[in-house]
């Protein structure tokens, strides 16, 4: 009786709050969860979809695919392309060439200048210059079929990756079975891209109190964050927003007409958004020329001159562009130098040299197949 009482008691306690779930008979394979550390001052809210959590195996696979020229599924034509063809780490993940734009596998140029791949885990669902792409996964799928990029098909890409010895087993490690689908390819690459965090520029170190900026850089910082100075922070962030982008869309006064643009208006149909593009991040801006969605400026000096003297009035200009009253912020040459010096403190060399984001040393099936 005593034993019965005791056992009953223990069983009762043990089941007291247990959820009513089916017992797991077969242990389900689970890849190793991975987490991102949130750097000082960065947003604590990450955009990681519920159906694609970060895992070590997923990120590793994504990195291989990102850099594998066979990804486009056109190796049989002797054509190789991957994300890496255009998004190159040492250039802050852009192609790093002035206009004309990069071309896809069929020789067609991309519609816009490039955007860097940096801190995209904090983009809340508006990728691309006009914000038309809702997720990194969607972007990968679009790259596959876009005639200005891979110009390929889902079937061709799936087949190409499936037939490379060594890949299916990596899909099994990342997703539980050997099945190779474009959705899984997109998920793995998106996981890898989400790990690309840059938080170690000279300016970050200054914010963390690890070093002091030079007088010229400090002057530039003050210009950047004051209305009477250059006033860049309202759209591009600053100490309170170390991403150096709001991920919002503005018309910054470059042109007098906006016909046929692929601007924000072309996405939302809201007439007040004509000529609006994303105020893209200024992180690593020194490395990511040419500038603006159409790559019209080749140097930071040209950009700074534009904001100083060359603004164009239209009814669409963003209200935050108050310097339009005088055609620009009218910086004098020494101030322009200071502003540029500050912009250069946003270069993060540890990011562009981080081996975790670099090209893998070897690829699956490398010995048995041609690889470029």
């Amino acid at each position: 009786m005593k034993t019965f009482l005791r056992i009953g008691f223990i069983v009762l306690l043990a089941t007291a709050c247990a959820k009513n779930t089916e017992p797991e008979l077969v242990p389900v394979y689970k890849p190793t969860p991975d987490t991102l550390e949130i750097p000082y001052g960065f947003p604590t809210r990450l955009n990681i979809p519920d159906d694609n959590p970060l895992t070590k195996e997923g990120i590793d696979l994504g990195r291989l695919l990102f850099y594998d020229g066979r990804l486009a599924g056109r190796a049989s034509e002797g054509k190789f392309m991957s994300c890496f063809t255009c998004h190159i780490q040492e250039n802050g993940f852009v192609i790093g060439k002035p206009r004309p734009f990069p071309v896809g596998l069929d020789g067609q140029p991309t519609r816009h200048a490039m955007l860097p791949l940096v801190n995209l885990v904090w983009n809340e669902g508006t990728y691309g210059w006009n914000g038309s792409v809702k997720s990194i996964e969607d972007d990968v799928l679009a790259v596959i079929t876009d005639p200005t990029e891979f110009g390929s098909s889902f079937l061709a890409v799936e087949k190409a990756i499936r037939e490379i010895p060594g890949y299916p087993v990596l899909f099994e490690k990342a997703f539980g079975t050997k099945e190779v689908t474009v959705e899984r390819i997109a998920k793995a690459i998106a996981q890898f891209v989400r790990t690309m965090v840059s938080s170690n520029s000279k300016f970050d170190k200054y914010l963390r109190g690890e070093l002091q900026l030079t007088q010229s850089e400090l002057n530039g910082f003050v210009l950047f964050t004051t209305e009477e100075g250059a006033d860049c922070f309202h759209c591009h962030g600053g100490s309170g927003n170390p991403l150096f982008t709001t991920n919002l869309f503005y018309n910054n006064g470059k042109d007098s007409t906006f016909a046929g643009e692929s601007d924000r208006y072309s996405v939302t149909g809201n007439a007040t958004e004509k000529g609006n593009y994303k105020a893209s991040t200024l992180r690593n801006i020194e490395l990511t020329a040419p500038y603006m969605h159409d790559g019209r400026f080749n140097t930071l000096d040209e950009v700074i001159d534009f904001y100083a003297h060359e603004l164009v009035w239209t009814p669409y200009i963003d209200p935050l562009m108050h310097h339009i009253a005088t055609g620009g912020n009218q910086l004098v040459p020494s101030e322009k130098e200071d502003l540029k010096a500050f912009l250069m403190t946003l270069t993060d060399t540890s990011f562009i040299q981080n081996p975790a984001f670099g090209k893998p040393v070897s690829f699956p099936g490398e010995k048995t197949m041609i690889l470029k």
């Binding site: 005593k2 009482l5 005791r6 008691f9 009762l12 306690l13 007291a16 709050c17 001052g41 960065f42 947003p43 604590t44 809210r45 809340e124 910082f221 003050v222 964050t225 004051t226 209305e227 009477e228 006033d231 922070f233 309202h234 962030g237 600053g238 100490s239 309170g240 927003n241 709001t246 991920n247 919002l248 007040t272 009035w313 009814p315 200009i317 963003d318 209200p319 935050l320 562009m321 108050h322 310097h323 339009i324 009253a325």
Partner: protein, 283 residues
């Protein structure tokens, strides 16, 4: 405690066991029922709550954005593109009782005319039913609570006020355009931004800061909440009042930007006393 111990020792052996196990069973049964209750709790109909809506008007009419429809007291034709601002420490003054601050654990509320979800605030706290004499709040964020880096995430993050200019957050960004004197088409932007002001010396160095937040008590804001009711009230920003009474605010004079212009921000602050009004809305 000693008393209990002594008593316990005096209980003869078999009874001791029986008492111990009965109590244990009882306690664990309590556990079980406690867990079950969570899922089957009936909704509490006696909850008394408050919802605050934020409305934006010019000359008594609902604001129409992006069109040059309005003329301010100084005679500037103008339009409004967007308004983003903080109010904090919302206080209800019950009749014949001491004031109650609502949502004390998250007492700063962000309102953004581009984000409809921010225009309605379902206050978490239970409110005591009864008569209320008035509603008050703080425009902006009080000095002690206006701490740099406290909002890492958008949209509040993008309200940050540069460290060099005093830090913390903008109290308000009211962005619009006006038609300057002598112009017929070419509007210019005005960024009517309020936050911490600066005092400059003769060579332009900052020697001190001024906190421009201010308390508001809404006129004629008495209302009654019945038990179990969710009362909906509205805080209305009457935009034209930012530009008059006591100071006529002329955009031709103050131009497009005022973050470094304490004179202009002071005028705005003084005009702020009757910008906000109360409205009771039907639910």
């Amino acid at each position: 405690m000693n008393q209990v111990n002594t008593l316990w020792f005096q209980v003869p052996f078999p009874f001791k066991q029986i008492i111990f196990w009965s109590v244990s069973w009882l306690v664990s049964l309590l556990f079980v029922t406690a867990c079950e209750k969570k899922t089957s709790e009936p909704p509490d109909t006696s909850e008394t709550r408050i919802t605050i809506r934020f409305e934006h008007r010019i000359d008594g009419q609902k604001l129409q954005y992006d069109t040059l429809l309005y003329v301010n007291e100084a005679g500037n034709p103008y339009m409004v593109n967007e308004i983003q601002y903080f109010i904090s420490d919302v206080i209800l003054y019950p009749h014949n009782k001491g004031p109650v601050t609502i949502n004390e654990w998250k007492d700063i509320h962000y309102i953004d005319t581009d984000l409809p979800t921010t225009l309605r605030w379902d206050v978490y706290d239970q409110i005591t039913a009864g008569q209320y004499d008035s509603v008050g709040f703080h425009f902006g964020i009080a000095e002690s609570e206006n701490i740099s880096f406290m909002y890492p995430n958008p949209p509040e993050r993008d309200m940050f006020w540069p460290e060099y200019l005093g830090g913390g957050y903008h109290y308000m960004k009211l962005n619009g355009k006006w038609l300057p004197e002598g112009q017929s088409i070419q509007t210019l932007p005005f960024d009517f931004h309020m936050g911490i002001g600066q005092i400059y010396d003769s060579v332009g160095a900052i020697t001190g800061y001024v906190h421009n937040d201010f308390p508001v008590i809404l006129k004629s804001s008495q209302f009654e909440i019945m038990p179990g009711e969710t009362k909906e009230i509205a805080i209305v920003m009457n935009i034209e009042n930012w530009f008059k009474d006591p100071n006529i605010y002329n955009h031709d004079l103050y131009g497009g930007y005022i973050m470094q212009n304490q004179t202009a921000m002071q005028k705005a602050k003084e005009n702020g006393h009757n910008v906000f009004t109360f409205a009771e809305t039907k639910n």
